[in-house]
Protein backbone atom coordinates (compact mmCIF):
# COMPACT_ATOMS: atom_id res chain seq x y z
CA UNK A 1 0.00 0.00 0.00
CA UNK A 2 1.11 3.51 -0.70
CA UNK A 3 0.04 6.87 0.57
CA UNK A 4 -0.17 9.55 -2.10
CA UNK A 5 0.09 12.97 -0.54
CA UNK A 6 -0.45 15.85 -2.92
CA UNK A 7 -0.13 19.52 -2.05
CA UNK A 8 -1.96 21.47 -4.73
CA UNK A 9 -3.35 24.88 -5.60
CA UNK A 10 -6.75 25.45 -3.98
CA UNK A 11 -8.11 26.60 -7.34
CA UNK A 12 -7.36 23.18 -8.87
CA UNK A 13 -8.85 21.14 -6.05
CA UNK A 14 -12.36 20.66 -7.45
CA UNK A 15 -11.02 19.43 -10.80
CA UNK A 16 -8.60 17.03 -9.11
CA UNK A 17 -11.34 15.66 -6.89
CA UNK A 18 -13.69 15.11 -9.83
CA UNK A 19 -10.98 13.45 -11.93
CA UNK A 20 -10.08 11.10 -9.09
CA UNK A 21 -13.69 10.14 -8.63
CA UNK A 22 -14.01 9.41 -12.37
CA UNK A 23 -10.90 7.26 -12.10
CA UNK A 24 -12.70 5.21 -9.48
CA UNK A 25 -10.94 6.42 -6.35
CA UNK A 26 -13.42 6.23 -3.52
CA UNK A 27 -11.90 7.95 -0.52
CA UNK A 28 -9.59 10.80 0.28
CA UNK A 29 -8.67 13.10 3.15
CA UNK A 30 -8.37 16.81 2.46
CA UNK A 31 -6.82 19.50 4.63
CA UNK A 32 -6.52 23.24 4.10
CA UNK A 33 -2.87 24.00 4.72
CA UNK A 34 -0.47 26.89 4.31
CA UNK A 35 3.07 26.79 3.11
CA UNK A 36 5.47 27.57 0.35
CA UNK A 37 8.19 26.00 -1.70
CA UNK A 38 10.08 28.05 -4.23
CA UNK A 39 7.07 30.27 -4.77
CA UNK A 40 7.54 33.68 -3.19
CA UNK A 41 4.65 35.15 -1.18
CA UNK A 42 2.88 38.42 -1.82
CA UNK A 43 2.55 41.76 -0.06
CA UNK A 44 -0.60 43.02 1.66
CA UNK A 45 -1.09 46.62 2.78
CA UNK A 46 -3.47 47.58 5.62
CA UNK A 47 -3.64 51.32 6.21
CA UNK A 48 -0.09 51.76 5.02
CA UNK A 49 1.36 48.83 6.97
CA UNK A 50 2.89 46.29 4.64
CA UNK A 51 2.86 42.61 5.44
CA UNK A 52 4.69 40.01 3.43
CA UNK A 53 2.58 36.91 3.30
CA UNK A 54 4.96 34.04 2.51
CA UNK A 55 2.79 31.14 3.67
CA UNK A 56 0.20 30.70 0.97
CA UNK A 57 -2.98 28.69 1.18
CA UNK A 58 -2.79 25.20 -0.36
CA UNK A 59 -4.86 22.05 -0.26
CA UNK A 60 -3.31 18.86 1.00
CA UNK A 61 -4.92 15.73 -0.37
CA UNK A 62 -4.10 12.30 1.04
CA UNK A 63 -5.11 8.96 -0.47
CA UNK A 64 -3.91 5.52 0.63
CA UNK A 65 -4.00 3.02 -2.24
CA UNK A 66 -3.19 -0.53 -3.27
CA UNK A 67 0.11 -0.41 -5.19
CA UNK A 68 -1.57 -1.09 -8.54
CA UNK A 69 -3.59 2.13 -8.44
CA UNK A 70 -0.72 4.46 -7.52
CA UNK A 71 0.39 5.30 -11.06
CA UNK A 72 -3.17 6.03 -12.14
CA UNK A 73 -3.72 8.43 -9.24
CA UNK A 74 -0.38 10.17 -9.69
CA UNK A 75 -1.06 10.65 -13.40
CA UNK A 76 -4.54 11.97 -12.74
CA UNK A 77 -3.27 14.49 -10.20
CA UNK A 78 -0.42 15.57 -12.47
CA UNK A 79 -2.83 16.10 -15.36
CA UNK A 80 -5.48 18.04 -13.47
CA UNK A 81 -3.48 20.00 -10.87
CA UNK A 82 -0.93 21.41 -13.27
CA UNK A 83 -1.24 25.06 -14.30
CA UNK A 84 2.38 25.29 -15.40
CA UNK A 85 3.09 28.17 -13.03
CA UNK A 86 5.32 28.20 -10.00
CA UNK A 87 3.34 27.20 -6.90
CA UNK A 88 1.56 24.19 -8.37
CA UNK A 89 2.69 22.03 -5.45
CA UNK A 90 4.18 18.58 -5.03
CA UNK A 91 3.30 14.92 -4.72
CA UNK A 92 4.89 12.67 -2.10
CA UNK A 93 4.66 8.88 -2.04
CA UNK A 94 5.08 6.91 1.18
CA UNK A 95 4.90 3.19 1.83
CA UNK A 96 2.14 2.26 4.26
CA UNK A 97 2.58 -0.81 6.53
CA UNK A 98 -0.95 -1.39 7.62
CA UNK A 99 -4.51 -0.11 7.28
CA UNK A 100 -7.25 -0.94 9.76
CA UNK A 101 -10.92 -0.16 9.36
CA UNK A 102 -12.16 0.96 12.74
CA UNK A 103 -15.74 -0.24 12.24
CA UNK A 104 -14.99 -3.93 11.75
CA UNK A 105 -11.24 -4.19 12.34
CA UNK A 106 -10.61 -5.34 8.76
CA UNK A 107 -6.93 -5.14 7.89
CA UNK A 108 -4.80 -4.66 4.82
CA UNK A 109 -5.93 -3.57 1.37
CA UNK A 110 -9.53 -4.58 2.01
CA UNK A 111 -9.66 -1.89 4.67
CA UNK A 112 -8.95 0.80 2.13
Amino acid sequence: MMKVEAIIQPSRFESVKDALREAGIEGMTVTEVRGHGRQKGHTEVYRGREYTVDLLPKIKLEVVLPDKLVDLVVDTILKTAKTGKIGDGKIFLTRVDEAIRIRNEERGESAL
Binding site: E44, V45, Y46, R47, G48, R49, Y51
Partner: protein
Protein backbone atom coordinates in the same frame (compact mmCIF):
# COMPACT_ATOMS: atom_id res chain seq x y z
CA UNK B 1 -26.39 71.17 18.45
CA UNK B 2 -28.01 74.25 17.18
CA UNK B 3 -31.42 75.51 17.94
CA UNK B 4 -33.47 75.56 14.78
CA UNK B 5 -36.96 76.88 14.57
CA UNK B 6 -39.18 76.04 11.70
CA UNK B 7 -41.80 78.71 11.42
CA UNK B 8 -45.02 77.37 10.01
CA UNK B 9 -47.04 80.14 8.37
CA UNK B 10 -50.28 80.20 10.30
CA UNK B 11 -52.33 81.65 7.46
CA UNK B 12 -51.51 78.82 5.13
CA UNK B 13 -52.65 76.27 7.68
CA UNK B 14 -55.76 78.24 8.48
CA UNK B 15 -57.15 78.22 4.97
CA UNK B 16 -56.78 74.47 4.83
CA UNK B 17 -59.08 73.96 7.78
CA UNK B 18 -62.78 74.15 6.88
CA UNK B 19 -64.87 76.49 9.01
CA UNK B 20 -66.91 74.58 11.55
CA UNK B 21 -68.99 77.52 12.85
CA UNK B 22 -71.31 78.80 10.11
CA UNK B 23 -73.83 79.87 12.80
CA UNK B 24 -71.40 82.58 13.90
CA UNK B 25 -72.56 84.70 10.90
CA UNK B 26 -75.76 85.62 12.69
CA UNK B 27 -74.16 86.36 16.06
CA UNK B 28 -73.16 89.76 17.44
CA UNK B 29 -69.80 91.19 16.21
CA UNK B 30 -67.99 90.79 19.57
CA UNK B 31 -69.08 87.13 19.74
CA UNK B 32 -67.81 86.75 16.22
CA UNK B 33 -64.37 88.10 17.08
CA UNK B 34 -64.21 85.91 20.19
CA UNK B 35 -65.06 82.88 18.09
CA UNK B 36 -62.29 83.82 15.66
CA UNK B 37 -59.84 84.27 18.53
CA UNK B 38 -60.77 80.88 19.99
CA UNK B 39 -60.48 79.36 16.58
CA UNK B 40 -57.02 80.86 16.10
CA UNK B 41 -55.88 79.67 19.51
CA UNK B 42 -57.15 76.21 18.71
CA UNK B 43 -55.36 76.24 15.35
CA UNK B 44 -52.20 77.40 17.04
CA UNK B 45 -52.33 74.43 19.38
CA UNK B 46 -52.96 72.05 16.51
CA UNK B 47 -50.12 73.43 14.43
CA UNK B 48 -47.72 73.22 17.37
CA UNK B 49 -48.84 69.67 18.08
CA UNK B 50 -48.43 68.68 14.43
CA UNK B 51 -44.95 70.13 14.23
CA UNK B 52 -44.01 68.60 17.53
CA UNK B 53 -45.08 65.17 16.46
CA UNK B 54 -43.15 65.47 13.18
CA UNK B 55 -40.00 66.70 14.88
CA UNK B 56 -40.31 64.19 17.66
CA UNK B 57 -40.64 61.30 15.23
CA UNK B 58 -37.43 62.33 13.46
CA UNK B 59 -35.54 62.93 16.70
CA UNK B 60 -36.47 59.55 18.16
CA UNK B 61 -35.41 57.82 14.94
CA UNK B 62 -32.19 59.84 14.98
CA UNK B 63 -31.48 58.82 18.56
CA UNK B 64 -31.90 55.17 17.60
CA UNK B 65 -29.63 55.66 14.55
CA UNK B 66 -26.89 57.14 16.72
CA UNK B 67 -27.13 54.24 19.15
CA UNK B 68 -26.77 51.89 16.18
CA UNK B 69 -23.47 53.60 15.38
CA UNK B 70 -21.97 52.26 18.61
CA UNK B 71 -23.61 48.86 18.54
CA UNK B 72 -23.25 47.21 16.20
CA UNK B 73 -21.62 49.83 13.91
CA UNK B 74 -18.44 50.73 15.74
CA UNK B 75 -18.26 47.34 17.46
CA UNK B 76 -18.18 45.59 14.08
CA UNK B 77 -15.84 48.15 12.51
CA UNK B 78 -13.32 47.81 15.32
CA UNK B 79 -14.08 44.12 15.87
CA UNK B 80 -12.99 43.24 12.36
CA UNK B 81 -9.78 45.24 12.59
CA UNK B 82 -8.34 43.41 15.59
CA UNK B 83 -6.81 39.96 15.64
CA UNK B 84 -9.36 37.21 16.24
CA UNK B 85 -8.28 36.60 19.84
CA UNK B 86 -9.41 40.14 20.79
CA UNK B 87 -12.69 40.36 18.88
CA UNK B 88 -15.14 40.05 21.75
CA UNK B 89 -13.04 42.26 24.02
CA UNK B 90 -13.12 45.22 21.64
CA UNK B 91 -16.81 44.71 20.90
CA UNK B 92 -17.51 44.50 24.62
CA UNK B 93 -15.70 47.78 25.19
CA UNK B 94 -18.19 49.48 22.87
CA UNK B 95 -21.18 47.64 24.23
CA UNK B 96 -20.20 48.39 27.83
CA UNK B 97 -20.46 52.09 27.01
CA UNK B 98 -24.07 51.59 25.95
CA UNK B 99 -24.83 50.35 29.44
CA UNK B 100 -22.41 52.31 31.61
CA UNK B 101 -22.77 55.77 30.09
CA UNK B 102 -26.55 55.44 29.96
CA UNK B 103 -26.76 54.92 33.71
CA UNK B 104 -24.27 57.72 34.43
CA UNK B 105 -26.19 59.99 32.07
CA UNK B 106 -29.45 59.38 33.91
CA UNK B 107 -27.89 59.99 37.32
CA UNK B 108 -25.73 63.07 36.76
CA UNK B 109 -24.30 63.11 33.25
CA UNK B 110 -27.12 64.89 31.47
CA UNK B 111 -27.25 67.50 34.19
CA UNK B 112 -23.50 68.14 34.10
CA UNK B 113 -23.60 68.52 30.33
CA UNK B 114 -26.85 70.42 29.81
CA UNK B 115 -28.01 71.66 33.22
CA UNK B 116 -27.65 75.23 34.50
CA UNK B 117 -25.95 78.01 32.58
CA UNK B 118 -22.31 77.79 33.66
CA UNK B 119 -19.50 78.78 31.34
CA UNK B 120 -17.60 75.50 31.66
CA UNK B 121 -19.88 72.87 33.17
CA UNK B 122 -23.54 72.34 33.98
CA UNK B 123 -25.00 71.85 37.43
CA UNK B 124 -27.02 69.27 39.33
CA UNK B 125 -30.39 70.79 38.42
CA UNK B 126 -31.29 67.85 36.19
CA UNK B 127 -29.66 65.22 38.40
CA UNK B 128 -31.70 61.99 38.35
CA UNK B 129 -33.48 63.66 35.42
CA UNK B 130 -35.47 65.83 37.78
CA UNK B 131 -37.75 68.07 35.73
CA UNK B 132 -36.87 66.37 32.46
CA UNK B 133 -40.21 65.29 31.04
CA UNK B 134 -42.75 65.86 28.31
CA UNK B 135 -42.38 69.65 28.18
CA UNK B 136 -39.75 70.88 25.75
CA UNK B 137 -36.54 72.52 26.92
CA UNK B 138 -35.08 75.63 25.32
CA UNK B 139 -32.51 73.41 23.57
CA UNK B 140 -35.15 71.91 21.32
CA UNK B 141 -38.43 73.81 21.64
CA UNK B 142 -40.53 71.46 19.56
CA UNK B 143 -39.76 68.09 21.12
CA UNK B 144 -40.18 66.72 24.64
CA UNK B 145 -37.21 67.35 26.89
CA UNK B 146 -36.92 63.58 27.29
CA UNK B 147 -36.33 63.22 23.56
CA UNK B 148 -33.53 65.80 23.59
CA UNK B 149 -32.02 64.12 26.67
CA UNK B 150 -32.01 60.63 25.15
CA UNK B 151 -30.72 61.90 21.80
CA UNK B 152 -27.77 63.61 23.49
CA UNK B 153 -27.14 60.45 25.51
CA UNK B 154 -26.32 58.53 22.34
CA UNK B 155 -23.48 60.95 21.59
CA UNK B 156 -22.13 60.48 25.09
CA UNK B 157 -22.20 56.70 24.50
CA UNK B 158 -20.23 56.62 21.26
CA UNK B 159 -17.57 59.17 22.20
CA UNK B 160 -15.70 57.11 24.82
CA UNK B 161 -16.20 53.99 22.69
CA UNK B 162 -14.17 55.67 19.94
CA UNK B 163 -11.13 55.87 22.25
CA UNK B 164 -10.97 52.09 22.55
CA UNK B 165 -9.62 51.96 19.00
CA UNK B 166 -6.27 53.32 20.18
CA UNK B 167 -5.94 51.04 23.18
CA UNK B 168 -7.22 47.94 21.39
CA UNK B 169 -5.72 44.51 22.06
CA UNK B 170 -4.03 45.47 25.34
CA UNK B 171 -6.42 47.34 27.64
CA UNK B 172 -7.80 45.76 30.80
CA UNK B 173 -11.56 45.58 31.03
CA UNK B 174 -11.64 46.83 34.61
CA UNK B 175 -9.37 49.70 33.61
CA UNK B 176 -11.65 50.47 30.67
CA UNK B 177 -14.72 50.74 32.88
CA UNK B 178 -13.02 53.02 35.41
CA UNK B 179 -11.25 55.13 32.80
CA UNK B 180 -14.41 55.67 30.78
CA UNK B 181 -16.48 56.58 33.85
CA UNK B 182 -13.98 59.25 34.84
CA UNK B 183 -13.40 60.38 31.28
CA UNK B 184 -17.11 60.84 30.67
CA UNK B 185 -17.53 62.92 33.85
CA UNK B 186 -14.30 64.93 33.66
CA UNK B 187 -13.77 65.44 29.93
CA UNK B 188 -16.97 64.77 27.99
CA UNK B 189 -19.60 66.44 30.16
CA UNK B 190 -17.75 69.79 30.54
CA UNK B 191 -16.77 69.91 26.88
CA UNK B 192 -20.35 69.21 25.80
CA UNK B 193 -21.49 72.00 28.11
CA UNK B 194 -18.92 74.50 26.86
CA UNK B 195 -19.89 73.97 23.23
CA UNK B 196 -23.59 73.11 23.39
CA UNK B 197 -24.83 73.95 26.89
CA UNK B 198 -26.70 77.09 27.92
CA UNK B 199 -24.11 79.73 28.83
CA UNK B 200 -21.17 77.63 27.63
CA UNK B 201 -18.35 79.94 26.58
CA UNK B 202 -17.88 78.23 23.20
CA UNK B 203 -21.62 78.07 22.49
CA UNK B 204 -22.26 79.11 18.88
CA UNK B 205 -25.24 81.35 19.60
CA UNK B 206 -24.33 82.88 22.96
CA UNK B 207 -20.72 82.09 23.91
CA UNK B 208 -17.74 84.43 24.22
CA UNK B 209 -15.96 82.49 21.47
CA UNK B 210 -18.81 81.20 19.32
CA UNK B 211 -17.44 77.90 18.04
CA UNK B 212 -19.43 76.26 15.27
CA UNK B 213 -19.80 72.59 16.05
CA UNK B 214 -22.98 71.29 14.54
CA UNK B 215 -22.81 67.68 15.66
CA UNK B 216 -19.60 67.13 17.57
CA UNK B 217 -16.35 67.82 15.74
CA UNK B 218 -14.79 69.14 18.93
CA UNK B 219 -16.99 67.53 21.58
CA UNK B 220 -16.99 64.04 20.09
CA UNK B 221 -14.14 63.62 17.62
CA UNK B 222 -11.34 65.89 18.79
CA UNK B 223 -11.98 64.96 22.42
CA UNK B 224 -11.98 61.21 21.78
CA UNK B 225 -9.24 61.31 19.13
CA UNK B 226 -6.80 63.33 21.20
CA UNK B 227 -7.51 61.27 24.31
CA UNK B 228 -6.94 58.18 22.20
CA UNK B 229 -3.50 59.45 21.22
CA UNK B 230 -2.62 60.19 24.85
CA UNK B 231 -3.75 56.69 25.86
CA UNK B 232 -1.74 55.07 23.06
CA UNK B 233 1.38 56.99 24.06
CA UNK B 234 0.91 56.34 27.79
CA UNK B 235 0.19 52.67 27.34
CA UNK B 236 2.90 51.87 24.83
CA UNK B 237 2.95 49.56 21.86
CA UNK B 238 1.37 46.16 21.62
CA UNK B 239 3.75 43.25 22.11
CA UNK B 240 5.42 42.69 18.76
CA UNK B 241 4.44 46.04 17.20
CA UNK B 242 5.52 46.98 14.57
CA UNK B 243 7.68 43.94 13.66
CA UNK B 244 5.01 41.30 13.97
CA UNK B 245 2.20 41.33 11.40
CA UNK B 246 -1.17 42.24 12.91
CA UNK B 247 -3.54 42.28 9.97
CA UNK B 248 -7.28 42.74 10.54
CA UNK B 249 -8.90 39.38 11.22
CA UNK B 250 -12.09 40.11 9.26
CA UNK B 251 -12.50 43.06 6.98
CA UNK B 252 -15.97 41.76 6.24
CA UNK B 253 -17.04 42.68 9.77
CA UNK B 254 -15.34 46.06 9.43
CA UNK B 255 -17.05 46.64 6.12
CA UNK B 256 -20.51 46.00 7.56
CA UNK B 257 -19.68 48.17 10.56
CA UNK B 258 -18.50 51.05 8.42
CA UNK B 259 -21.65 50.95 6.31
CA UNK B 260 -23.77 51.02 9.47
CA UNK B 261 -21.74 53.98 10.72
CA UNK B 262 -22.46 55.81 7.48
CA UNK B 263 -26.21 55.25 7.82
CA UNK B 264 -26.20 55.99 11.55
CA UNK B 265 -24.38 59.23 10.88
CA UNK B 266 -27.52 60.66 9.26
CA UNK B 267 -29.07 60.52 12.72
CA UNK B 268 -25.92 61.99 14.21
CA UNK B 269 -25.66 64.97 11.87
CA UNK B 270 -29.09 65.56 10.36
CA UNK B 271 -30.62 64.82 13.76
CA UNK B 272 -28.51 67.60 15.21
CA UNK B 273 -30.86 70.04 13.53
CA UNK B 274 -33.11 69.01 16.45
CA UNK B 275 -36.09 69.26 14.14
CA UNK B 276 -37.31 67.70 10.93
CA UNK B 277 -37.07 70.88 8.86
CA UNK B 278 -34.95 72.02 5.95
CA UNK B 279 -31.82 72.31 8.09
CA UNK B 280 -31.99 68.56 8.67
CA UNK B 281 -32.15 68.03 4.90
CA UNK B 282 -29.16 70.27 4.41
CA UNK B 283 -27.13 68.44 7.06
CA UNK B 284 -28.21 65.08 5.65
CA UNK B 285 -26.95 65.98 2.19
CA UNK B 286 -23.70 67.47 3.47
CA UNK B 287 -23.07 64.34 5.55
CA UNK B 288 -23.56 62.02 2.63
CA UNK B 289 -21.45 64.12 0.27
CA UNK B 290 -18.63 64.44 2.77
CA UNK B 291 -18.46 60.68 3.26
CA UNK B 292 -18.51 59.92 -0.45
CA UNK B 293 -15.85 62.47 -1.34
CA UNK B 294 -13.52 61.26 1.42
CA UNK B 295 -13.93 57.61 0.40
CA UNK B 296 -12.80 58.67 -3.06
CA UNK B 297 -9.84 60.78 -1.98
CA UNK B 298 -8.49 58.16 0.44
CA UNK B 299 -8.83 55.51 -2.27
CA UNK B 300 -7.09 57.67 -4.87
CA UNK B 301 -4.24 58.43 -2.47
CA UNK B 302 -3.86 54.72 -1.81
CA UNK B 303 -4.07 53.85 -5.48
CA UNK B 304 -1.27 56.27 -6.27
CA UNK B 305 0.86 55.04 -3.37
CA UNK B 306 0.30 51.27 -3.50
CA UNK B 307 -1.10 50.71 -6.96
CA UNK B 308 -4.35 49.36 -5.50
CA UNK B 309 -7.50 50.78 -3.94
CA UNK B 310 -8.32 48.61 -0.93
CA UNK B 311 -11.69 47.98 0.70
CA UNK B 312 -10.23 48.96 4.07
CA UNK B 313 -9.01 52.21 2.53
CA UNK B 314 -12.40 53.06 1.06
CA UNK B 315 -14.31 52.46 4.28
CA UNK B 316 -11.67 54.26 6.37
CA UNK B 317 -11.95 57.20 4.01
CA UNK B 318 -15.72 57.29 4.35
CA UNK B 319 -15.46 57.34 8.14
CA UNK B 320 -12.83 60.10 7.96
CA UNK B 321 -15.17 62.14 5.77
CA UNK B 322 -18.09 61.59 8.15
CA UNK B 323 -15.93 62.74 11.04
CA UNK B 324 -14.79 65.88 9.24
CA UNK B 325 -18.26 66.86 8.05
CA UNK B 326 -19.71 66.44 11.55
CA UNK B 327 -19.00 69.98 12.82
CA UNK B 328 -19.86 71.46 9.41
CA UNK B 329 -22.98 69.48 8.48
CA UNK B 330 -25.59 72.11 9.38
CA UNK B 331 -23.55 75.09 8.23
CA UNK B 332 -22.28 74.27 4.76
CA UNK B 333 -23.84 73.60 1.38
CA UNK B 334 -23.33 70.51 -0.77
CA UNK B 335 -20.28 71.77 -2.71
CA UNK B 336 -18.25 72.78 0.35
CA UNK B 337 -19.22 69.39 1.83
CA UNK B 338 -17.53 67.71 -1.13
CA UNK B 339 -14.42 69.86 -0.60
CA UNK B 340 -14.30 69.05 3.13
CA UNK B 341 -14.67 65.36 2.35
CA UNK B 342 -11.92 65.38 -0.26
CA UNK B 343 -9.56 67.18 2.11
CA UNK B 344 -10.37 64.91 5.04
CA UNK B 345 -9.85 61.66 3.12
CA UNK B 346 -6.41 62.67 1.90
CA UNK B 347 -5.37 64.26 5.20
CA UNK B 348 -6.41 61.29 7.35
CA UNK B 349 -4.73 58.89 4.93
CA UNK B 350 -1.53 60.86 5.41
CA UNK B 351 -1.95 60.88 9.22
CA UNK B 352 -2.64 57.15 9.42
CA UNK B 353 0.02 55.94 7.03
CA UNK B 354 2.85 58.49 7.24
CA UNK B 355 2.61 60.43 10.50
CA UNK B 356 1.92 57.35 12.60
CA UNK B 357 4.87 55.56 11.01
CA UNK B 358 7.20 58.53 11.56
CA UNK B 359 6.38 58.91 15.26
CA UNK B 360 5.93 55.20 15.86
CA UNK B 361 3.00 55.36 18.31
CA UNK B 362 0.69 52.37 18.33
CA UNK B 363 -2.75 53.87 17.77
CA UNK B 364 -3.94 50.35 17.01
CA UNK B 365 -7.11 51.09 15.03
CA UNK B 366 -6.33 54.74 14.22
CA UNK B 367 -8.73 56.44 16.58
CA UNK B 368 -6.48 59.50 16.56
CA UNK B 369 -5.57 59.32 12.88
CA UNK B 370 -9.23 59.31 11.85
CA UNK B 371 -11.18 61.02 14.66
CA UNK B 372 -8.58 63.38 16.09
CA UNK B 373 -7.19 64.43 12.74
CA UNK B 374 -10.52 64.38 10.88
CA UNK B 375 -12.28 66.26 13.69
CA UNK B 376 -9.61 68.95 13.70
CA UNK B 377 -9.56 69.57 9.97
CA UNK B 378 -13.37 69.48 9.91
CA UNK B 379 -13.71 72.01 12.74
CA UNK B 380 -11.26 74.32 11.00
CA UNK B 381 -12.88 74.04 7.57
CA UNK B 382 -16.30 74.68 9.15
CA UNK B 383 -15.00 78.16 9.96
CA UNK B 384 -14.01 78.62 6.33
CA UNK B 385 -17.11 77.29 4.58
CA UNK B 386 -20.03 78.06 6.94
CA UNK B 387 -22.70 80.12 5.21
CA UNK B 388 -25.55 82.19 6.57
CA UNK B 389 -27.67 81.09 3.63
CA UNK B 390 -27.51 77.55 5.04
CA UNK B 391 -27.84 78.47 8.70
CA UNK B 392 -28.06 82.11 9.87
CA UNK B 393 -26.71 81.16 13.28
CA UNK B 394 -25.46 84.67 14.09
CA UNK B 395 -28.73 86.34 13.06
CA UNK B 396 -30.35 87.21 9.74
CA UNK B 397 -28.01 88.88 7.26
CA UNK B 398 -24.87 88.26 9.35
CA UNK B 399 -22.13 86.35 7.62
CA UNK B 400 -20.97 83.18 9.34
CA UNK B 401 -17.80 81.62 7.91
CA UNK B 402 -14.66 82.94 6.21
CA UNK B 403 -15.80 82.70 2.61
CA UNK B 404 -19.08 84.20 3.74
CA UNK B 405 -17.10 87.30 4.71
CA UNK B 406 -16.41 86.60 8.39
CA UNK B 407 -12.82 85.36 8.61
CA UNK B 408 -12.84 85.96 12.34
CA UNK B 409 -14.82 82.73 12.59
CA UNK B 410 -11.72 80.74 11.68
CA UNK B 411 -10.14 82.25 14.80
CA UNK B 412 -13.14 81.24 16.90
CA UNK B 413 -12.87 77.73 15.51
CA UNK B 414 -9.19 77.67 16.45
CA UNK B 415 -10.05 78.66 20.01
CA UNK B 416 -12.54 75.81 20.17
CA UNK B 417 -10.02 73.37 18.70
CA UNK B 418 -7.21 74.40 21.05
CA UNK B 419 -9.47 74.18 24.09
CA UNK B 420 -10.82 70.78 23.08
CA UNK B 421 -7.26 69.51 22.47
CA UNK B 422 -5.95 70.92 25.75
CA UNK B 423 -8.92 69.74 27.77
CA UNK B 424 -8.73 66.21 26.37
CA UNK B 425 -4.96 66.10 26.79
CA UNK B 426 -4.79 67.23 30.41
CA UNK B 427 -7.95 65.44 31.50
CA UNK B 428 -6.83 62.15 29.98
CA UNK B 429 -3.37 62.27 31.58
CA UNK B 430 -4.92 62.82 35.02
CA UNK B 431 -7.49 60.05 34.50
CA UNK B 432 -4.83 57.65 33.22
CA UNK B 433 -2.78 58.17 36.38
CA UNK B 434 -5.80 57.54 38.59
CA UNK B 435 -6.82 54.47 36.61
CA UNK B 436 -3.32 53.08 36.63
CA UNK B 437 -3.15 53.36 40.42
CA UNK B 438 -6.63 51.97 41.04
CA UNK B 439 -7.12 49.08 38.64
CA UNK B 440 -4.22 49.15 36.22
CA UNK B 441 -4.69 50.00 32.61
CA UNK B 442 -2.81 47.46 30.60
CA UNK B 443 -3.04 43.69 30.78
CA UNK B 444 0.09 41.68 31.64
CA UNK B 445 2.12 40.56 28.67
CA UNK B 446 1.11 36.90 28.88
CA UNK B 447 -2.56 37.91 28.80
CA UNK B 448 -1.95 40.11 25.80
CA UNK B 449 -0.31 37.24 23.94
CA UNK B 450 -3.09 34.82 24.85
CA UNK B 451 -5.73 37.36 23.83
CA UNK B 452 -8.18 39.53 25.73
CA UNK B 453 -11.25 37.45 24.89
CA UNK B 454 -10.09 34.58 27.07
CA UNK B 455 -8.14 36.50 29.71
CA UNK B 456 -10.61 39.38 30.23
CA UNK B 457 -13.94 37.78 29.46
CA UNK B 458 -13.44 34.01 29.64
CA UNK B 459 -14.85 33.30 26.20
CA UNK B 460 -13.90 33.12 22.54
CA UNK B 461 -15.38 34.83 19.52
CA UNK B 462 -14.81 31.85 17.25
CA UNK B 463 -15.04 28.52 18.99
CA UNK B 464 -13.90 26.25 16.21
CA UNK B 465 -14.65 22.92 17.87
CA UNK B 466 -18.33 23.58 18.46
Amino acid sequence: MVLAFTVVPLGAQQSAVPSSAPAANNAAPQDNSKAVADKLADLDRRVTAAQSSGDNAWMLVSAALVLMMTGPGLALFYGGLVRRKNTLAIMMQSFAMMALITVLWALVGYSLAFGGSGKVIGDFGYAFLRGVGADPSNYAPTVPHLTFMVYQLMFAVITPALITGATAERMKFSGTVLFMTLWFLIVYAPLAHMVWGNGGFLNASSGKFPCLDFAGGTVVHISSGVSALVCALYMGKRVGFPKQPMPPHSLVLSFIGACMLWVGWFGFNAGSALAAGSLASSAFVATHFGAAAAALSWSVAEWIKNGKASALGAISGAVAGLVAITPAAGFVGPMPALVIGLAAGAFCYFMVTRVKAIFGYDDALDAFGVHGAGGTIGALLTGVFAQQIVNPIFGAGKSVGGLDGHWGQVGNQLVGIVIAWAFALVGTIVILKITDLATGFRVPEEHEVEGLDITQHGEEAYYLES
